[in-house]
């Protein structure tokens, strides 16, 4: 996955993501693509969650999946989640859950709960950084005011780091793939540097849905695992999602 929160020169925030999923889950020789990735595309839906006839939050999700990986609370915050791989991974959390140790939260249930119940960017940030989880994760959170944007790096038990927008020091965007931002990515899976190169080339004054979509359409940020691209603007109450495909030649991840 690749997620980004960026602030333009007027202080408006954009939040976008590519959702990549299905690595090693079967290869479709006929279509030259990952099997699960291909079968997930028809399940992608945008959902407007309403209470009393009013929107509580909106999301891009998969039919049949009740948790959330991408969503926005209009006027308040936007949230995406990227997978974080670890030896102390979610399978240990699941085993603990089966054995009766149930003090951790399922990752996608937490994101859904935050989208449904949190009433501010700060409250969302606190819940995402402090709630004990069954699996490690990266939470990418955007708000509706200048410098409200961060990447929260989580282990199952602790918040390891919060990387925030910091305009004074030139951090006008935060961009997360699937590696801790303070460490180098895996050499054969470096989507971060190409993505950041495109963001720098675009520059803060030209950031928009269009230029962010351009970055997310550049190989290898776009790759064989990319299922959908979502673009969000909290202040404009806009969420747009598009199904993606990466025709050959294209990186398998």
């Amino acid at each position: 996955c690749t997620s980004v929160v960026a602030e333009d020169k007027s202080g408006k925030l954009y939040h976008a993501r590519n959702l990549d999923f299905g690595l090693f889950l079967g290869w479709d020789v006929k279509n030259n693509s990952w099997m699960v990735t291909q079968l997930l595309r028809p399940l992608v839906v945008n959902v407007d969650f309403q209470r009393n006839g009013k929107t509580v939050f909106v999301s891009t999700s998969f039919a049949g999946y009740v948790g959330m990986l991408t969503g926005m609370k209009p006027g308040i915050f936007s949230l995406t989640m990227n997978e974080r791989f670890s030896i102390d991974g979610g399978y240990i959390g699941v085993l603990e859950w089966i054995l009766g140790k149930r003090d951790g939260m399922w990752m996608s249930f937490l994101t859904r709960s935050v989208l449904e119940n949190a009433t501010s960017y700060e409250e969302a940030k606190t819940l995402l950084s402090k709630t004990k989880l069954l699996a490690p994760a990266y939470f990418i959170l955007g708000g509706n005011k200048s410098e409200e944007g961060c990447v929260i790096t989580r282990s199952r038990a602790a918040c390891l780091d919060i990387w925030e927008l910091d305009l004074k020091n030139g951090t006008w965007y935060v961009l997360e793939t699937n590696y801790d931002h303070w460490k180098a990515p895996l050499p054969i899976d470096n989507r971060r540097d190409p993505a950041m190169k495109c963001m720098r080339r675009t520059s803060q004054q030209n950031i928009s849905f269009g230029t962010i979509y351009d970055m997310l359409s550049t190989k290898p940020v776009l790759n064989k695992l990319t299922t959908y691209t979502t673009l969000m603007s909290v202040s404009d109450n806009k969420l747009e999602a598009y199904l993606r495909i990466c025709p050959d030649p294209c990186m398998p991840w």
């Binding site: 945008n46 791989f85 470096n190 550049t218």
Partner: protein, 125 residues
Amino acid sequence: SGLAQDVPPYTEDCRSGTYPPSGPTFKGNVSWYTVNLDQAPQERWQKLISEKKTALSILIQAIKDLATSFFPSEKIIKLVDTKLPLLIGTLPCPFGEEIKGIADASGLPLGEVMLFNIFYEVFTV
């Protein structure tokens, strides 16, 4: 720096002018649905699932086929179908009830719908 990704054609110069989406990397728009949180959790997803149940069952069958190719005895599938549903009541509210509603609406076994919903936790290894 990358290795494989530094070698064209697997990498490319930053794209421009791709928006509004069209062309070979655009597979289509995503449809909108409404979920009414005032409804009982078991009923919330029924309309959406009634439209998507074929796609959902194809995906879950593919995951089962994949599991069977690794564990040919089908014991793993039986375990999912018989043991996972026993844990549904341990999921926080309203998620367990919503998953039950999706299993009912799709006609898929509860354990298999539950597995789909905890896929992330299982695959972060």
